[in-house]
């Protein structure tokens, strides 16, 4: 069954081309192609996709905002952020909001499809920079942190390797576990990140 992909991208040229390429590529089908965040919020809820390519800078409700709104309603949908520049801070914010990966827009279509497939199959592509930020994030203990917000030893191990440039496959080789297990760990890490960021938001809210 082909992967249903929706696109949120304000640049018309990119949006149209991506949509056409997606539609014409076997294994993929196009869900919605939205130009603004507001449009995305309206349409994606009614027409859930497997994977959403979300421009991080989309006008009227940013991509991060859209993910934060949509992800709780569409838990099965994976969000891949598209960025034009290397802004790991923004990417990290999206991950906290519930995104599962990110791509620089400039990559060739094949890489995009690969990323979509990986995410769809439970993979969690993670660059060394994102891994670094994750490590830093989880290093700072929250006073009221619960277990499900802390990383396990194995998860820390995986992240550390990733920060040093290892790919998922290399991590699996290094730790003598399957790639699938690595991905599962990464998914868990992402979820903990989300839980943690939500808890922080609540704490911030309560703390005034």
């Amino acid at each position: 069954m082909s992967i249903k992909v929706s696109i949120v991208e304000d640049n018309q040229s990119i949006r149209q081309s991506l949509a056409e390429i997606l539609d014409s590529t076997p294994g993929f089908r196009l869900g919605d192609a939205c130009a603004t965040g507001e449009e995305a919020l309206q349409r994606l809820l009614n027409n859930p996709a497997d994977v959403v390519l979300m421009d991080i800078n989309v006008p009227r409700k940013s991509g991060v905002h859209c993910v934060r709104e949509l992800k709780p309603c569409l838990p099965k949908t994976q969000f891949i952020m598209l960025t034009i520049e290397d802004d790991s801070q923004r990417v990290f914010e999206s991950l906290q909001a519930g995104a599962t990966g990110y791509l620089v827009k400039n990559v060739p279509p094949d890489r995009i499809f690969a990323a979509i497939e990986e995410v769809h199959q439970g993979g969690s592509p993670m660059s060394s920079q994102i891994a670094r930020m994750l490590v830093q994030t989880f290093q700072t203990k929250r006073p009221s942190s619960e277990r499900n917000e802390e990383l396990t030893a194995r998860e820390s191990e995986i992240l550390t390797l990733l920060t040093r440039g290892y790919r998922s496959k290399e991590v699996a080789d290094e730790l003598a576990i399957s790639v699938q297990t690595v991905h599962t760990h990464l998914r868990n890490i992402y979820e903990k990140l989300q839980v943690r960021s939500r808890a922080e938001a609540v704490a911030r809210y309560l703390g005034g």
């Binding site: 056409e20 290397d86 060739p108 920060t163």
Partner: protein, 1062 residues
């Protein structure tokens, strides 16, 4: 204080009981004797009078009343007695029994004591002992000269002149004086002295002589008159040059060579009426009847103020009319009395039930007849006799008698219930034809114009009585409203008619023209009040007065100072005033002021008001029916009130309205008297007209016990007191105004220039307090108004200056200011520097913002569009056939992406957001990771866990980024490389970057380097050189070590990088 108003109200019926008493005696004029109503006030020792026997009275120009008793001297301002004893004595010794009080032409008060003469002037007492030495004299009487100094009559030593502390002239029997016993003295307007010489044992003057002090000529009375006169008790030259003499049973007047004798048997016969006094209206005052009454004589009329009725049973010692028309009486053991002749009288009707005593209308008849309408009857009032009409000719009782008018033919017209009556032989009879077409019409106004036409205003139109018939004008004839409130005629023969609905109609040449609120009339019913000679008309409305002059309407209201909102009348007193009645009493206003306010030339109207305190039974006026006020040919005015009718002579009333003289009595600073009464001599008062040295000399010479500087009203030479620093933490200023009409109602306003911005609120307090005054020059001013609102606009002044502490002085301020300026300059300098830095930072910030904007634009527009192109190329690739086109499209896509990649690097370097070492490390690691992964090699990164907070400038980042990129390209091309390691470390203060591969390396020969084609470093030959140059431009070191595990290594000193600003 003794009984308030006595004889307040003169009953009309009672008035006849005091009708003129006349005794016809040939060639002796009878005079008219009238018992006068008056108000009596009394002060005794209970009010702080030193003693209840007041022998002598005087009033100084500053307004104070002085009472000389047997135990001392008291000064009175109407509220408070100030007793002087210490000042009169020498070393606390002496007799305080006052024998004479005299005020000389310079305003000095002379007090004769048994052993001394004391002079009081401007707050200073000077004492001249008469016990021994050159001043020794057996004084019998004295008068103060109009110039200055004293005339002193002695027992056995003739007449002496006292001036400048010494006797200067002497007249004795040997010089032609009648005897050496001088018992009576009076000075005339030319400075000549009438001298009454007595015998040794008999106080009645045996002879009278007139001394001309300039020529020294002595003339006897018989020489002046041309005939002999004896038994003269007192001889008094008045202000007009007439000579008055009191004799048993007679008062004589010698004027212009003619002697007039007045019979006084109704007043006195063989009892001496005492010394003759003259008041400011020219009337004479005497105290006959063994001292039980005071009498005023003027123009042949005796006004008797009988004190016996007031419980005064002892003798009158002295009578003194004051400047306000009150009369002061010193009595033996009865204290000090004040007689206030009642000038305004309410005449009350004696209505059978005693209830309603309302007067609705007053009209002047022929001669001195006055017609009064009381509602139930018509009164004819003449010579204190009253005739009343209560029944009509039809035998029925009259009702609603509310207006009457006597026309020039003597016909009396009366408004009553149901219409108009006229007075005929049969009594009050209905007027046929006068009905305005209705049986129940109401007459509201009666007016006879200058041509003798009778006009009748009613609620149903205007009637004109012409040749025995009545002509009715209504709205059909152009009148604006049929309900008429009042009528006035103008000198040009035109007629003004006010209406209930608020218009003023002008009937001229047979046509009505109406003025209304649209033309500026105040709203409400219009009563025309007065027409002036130029045709200007004043009208009253419920909210104020209107003036209509040449078609222009102006308003004067309560806001401008009108006493009440509605004015019922305006009577011209022919002296420039209007007198009016309203619901707050009676007031007068200067016509010029009224015009000035109407013209807007003057802001405030000044109304002098009269009310119950002046003897009125009611202050509420009646004005609904015209005529509602009358001025009689003798000038007296009559106003109808809700209780009785008010009658007065405006001239008499105005006599009392003297602006009250104001005195600052005492100033205390912090519990110490610094000025005025009781001042200690510690404070030097700089009196401009007399130096302190002179003052001391005079004081010593005259054994003055105390020297009291005093500020008199309007005295421009008031002393300026200098107070040392720290004085006057609080200041208490006692002031007063010498008005005796109703002292409790005297109003004051004061201000302290230098402290108060404006005059303070009106007050009846006679003391002002100030606290915490700053150093500086101050001028205290106080002004006052009598109870009628007559202001003395010339304030009394007390000036003083308060010296500053050293820290309040100019040098200290200058020091402070200099210090402050220097400090300010320092601060300013620092601020300017700070501002410059701020400016610099702002410029930098602007630059950074600009860089961020460019970066964003490049990304958003260029980057996105290029990406779009690449994707289009990809799309076309998929849709096109033919390998060549596909290849070319692939190349387009690849080149475009490469372009975007390059741009990303540039833009990253440009964007100030990434100006940190951490940002640099992240970016480089990402680049390496992406590049190496894309190349299918392993990537290993070594980055420190934390980075120092350093700012890496954009050029440095840009160069480092390109060097790393170049190094990556080189490494990837190395044969056999499978893994690329990138490390970024801090080595001391140097930033060390290392890029190594596990390939086979290469020779250090530029020509052997592979060409990199489309790679950003351009041709390979220049690649290494570029890398080196870039690193060296950053002051760093570049090493290239080829071989296994070797690669590019650069180290860059970070001293030039600034610490990251937050």
């Amino acid at each position: 204080m003794f009984c308030r108003p006595f004889h307040r109200v003169l009953s009309i019926w009672l008035a006849s009981a005091s009708l003129p008493v006349s005794t016809a005696v040939a060639e002796i004029l009878p005079g008219t004797v009238v018992a006068q109503p008056f108000t009596l006030h009394r002060w005794t020792t209970e009010n702080n009078l030193p003693q209840n026997t007041v022998n002598y009275l005087a009033q100084t120009p500053d307004g104070y009343l002085w009472a000389g008793t047997r135990t001392g001297l008291a000064r009175f301002d109407g509220v408070r007695f100030t007793v002087f004893t210490r000042e009169l004595l020498m070393n606390g010794q002496g007799d305080l029994s006052c024998r004479d009080l005299e005020v000389d032409g310079k305003g000095r008060l002379w007090i004769r004591l048994p052993d001394a003469l004391v002079c009081y002037h401007q707050g200073r007492f000077e004492r001249f002992s008469t016990e021994s030495g050159p001043l020794q004299s057996d004084i019998q009487t004295m008068i103060a000269s109009r110039e200055s100094g004293l005339w002193i009559g002695t027992r056995g030593q003739g007449l002496k002149r006292f001036e400048n502390g010494a006797f200067t002239r002497l007249y004795r029997a040997a010089d032609g004086l009648g005897t050496d016993w001088v018992g009576l003295l009076n000075e005339d307007g030319q400075g000549r002295v009438w001298i009454g010489c007595t015998d040794r044992d008999w106080p009645i003057a045996r002879s009278w002589q007139r001394l001309d002090p300039v020529s020294g000529e002595l003339v006897s009375l018989s020489e002046v008159l041309g005939f002999a006169l004896t038994n003269i008790w007192d001889l008094f030259p008045d202000h007009d040059g007439r000579l008055w003499a009191t004799l048993p049973g007679q008062l004589l007047c010698w004027a212009e060579g003619k002697l007039t004798r007045y019979d006084t048997s109704a007043i006195w016969n063989h009892e001496n009426p005492g010394r003759i006094k003259e008041d400011n209206t020219g009337a004479l005052w005497l105290a006959p009847g063994n001292g039980t009454k005071a009498v005023r004589f003027k123009d042949g009329r005796w006004d008797v103020f009988n004190l016996e009725n007031q419980g005064i049973d002892r003798d009158i010692r002295e009578v003194l009319p004051d400047r306000e028309g009150n009369v002061w009486v010193g009595t033996g053991a009865q204290g000090l009395l004040q007689i206030q002749p009642q000038r305004i009288m309410s005449l009350l009707t004696k209505s059978p039930g005693g209830g309603n005593q309302e007067i609705h209308s007053v009209a002047a008849g022929a001669g001195d007849v006055v017609w009064l309408a009381t509602g139930s009857r018509l009164l004819r009032f003449q010579h204190d006799a009253v005739e009343h009409f209560a029944v009509g000719s039809d035998g029925r009782a009259l009702t609603q008698v509310q207006a009457a008018l006597e026309d020039r033919s003597g016909q009396v017209w009366v408004k009553c219930h149901g219409g108009l009556l006229k007075l005929t032989k049969e009594g009050l009879t209905r007027v046929p034809g006068a009905d305005a077409g209705r049986s129940n019409w109401v007459v509201t106004a009666l007016r006879e114009d200058r041509r003798g036409r009778l006009w009748i205003g009613s609620d149903s139109g205007l009637l004109e009585h012409r040749d025995g018939t009545f002509i009715l004008y209504t709205t059909r004839d152009g009148l604006s409203d049929d309900a008429i409130c009042g009528i006035r005629d103008a000198p040009d023969g035109s007629l003004w008619v006010g209406t209930q609905s608020g218009e003023l109609n002008h009937l001229k040449d047979g046509r009505f023209h109406a003025y209304s609120t649209r033309d500026g009339l105040l709203p409400g019913r219009v009563i025309p009040l007065a027409v002036e000679e130029d045709g200007t008309i004043w009208t009253g409305t419920p909210t104020g007065l209107n003036r209509i002059r040449a078609g222009e309407i102006r308003a004067v209201t309560e806001r401008e100072g009108l006493l009440d909102h509605e004015t019922y009348s305006l009577l011209d007193d022919k002296r420039g005033h209007y007198w009016a009645h309203c619901n707050r009493g009676i007031f007068r206003v200067r016509q010029a002021d009224l015009h000035a306010v109407a013209d807007g030339r003057q802001r405030r109207l000044h109304c002098v008001s009269y009310g119950k305190a002046d003897g009125m039974a009611s202050t509420e006026g009646n004005g609904d029916y015209q005529p509602n006020a009358a001025r009689l040919p003798d000038g007296r005015m009559w106003f109808p009130m809700t209780r009785g009718v008010v009658v007065f002579d405006p001239g008499e009333v105005m006599e009392t309205d003297v602006p009250p003289p104001i005195v600052i009595e005492q100033v205390q600073a912090d519990d110490e008297v610094i000025y005025g009464d009781g001042v200690a001599q510690r404070w030097s008062a700089a009196v401009p007209n007399r130096s302190g040295h002179d003052a001391q000399k005079v004081a010593a010479a005259s054994q003055a016990m105390s020297s009291i500087p005093r500020a008199a009203a309007g005295d421009s030479r008031a002393p300026v007191l200098r107070l040392p620093a720290g004085r006057a933490r609080w200041l208490k200023i006692h002031y007063t105004a010498n008005s005796f009409f109703d002292p409790r109602r005297v109003r004051f306003q004061y201000r302290l220039t230098g402290h108060d911005r404006d005059w303070r609120k009106m007050t009846d307090e006679r003391v002002a307090y100030y606290a915490d005054l700053k150093p500086g020059h101050y001028r205290f001013q106080v002004k006052a108004a009598n109870p009628h609102g007559v202001w003395n606009e010339t304030p009394a002044v007390f000036e003083f200056s308060l010296a500053p502490h050293f820290y309040e002085t100019w040098p200290f301020y200058i020091l402070c200011v200099t210090g402050a300026v220097l400090a300010g300059l320092g601060v300013h300098h620092r601020r300017v520097r700070g501002l410059r830095r701020l400016q610099h930072l702002e410029q930098q910030r602007a630059l950074l913002d600009e860089r961020a904007r460019i970066a964003r634009d490049l990304h958003d527009d260029l980057g996105a569009n290029l990406t779009g192109i690449a994707l289009k190329a990809d799309l076309a690739q998929r849709q096109l056939q033919g390998p060549q086109a596909v290849g070319q499209l692939a190349e387009i896509a690849a080149n475009t992406r490469a372009l975007v990649d390059n741009m990303r690097g540039t833009v990253w370097a440009l964007n100030p957001k990434h100006d940190t070492l951490e940002g640099l490390a992240r970016f480089l690691a990402q680049q390496v990771e992406d590049f190496v992964t894309d190349a299918g090699l392993r990537c290993r990164l070594e980055l420190p866990g934390e980075f120092p907070g350093l700012t890496v400038p954009s050029p440095a980042r840009y160069h480092i980024h390109l060097v790393v990129k170049e190094g990556l390209h080189n490494a990837v091309k190395h044969a056999g490389a499978r893994e690329i390691r990138f490390s970024l470390q801090m080595d001391g203060s140097d930033l060390c970057l290392c890029l190594a591969d596990d390939g086979q390396g290469f020779e250090l020969n530029d020509s052997q380097l592979p060409t990199l084609g489309s790679q950003p470093s351009g041709n390979g030959g220049n690649g290494l050189l570029n890398m080196r140059q870039r690193v060296e431009s950053l002051g760093g070191r570049w090493e290239l070590a080829s071989g296994c595990g070797q690669g590019t290594r650069i180290s860059i000193p970070t001293q030039s990088f600034r610490p990251k600003s937050t």
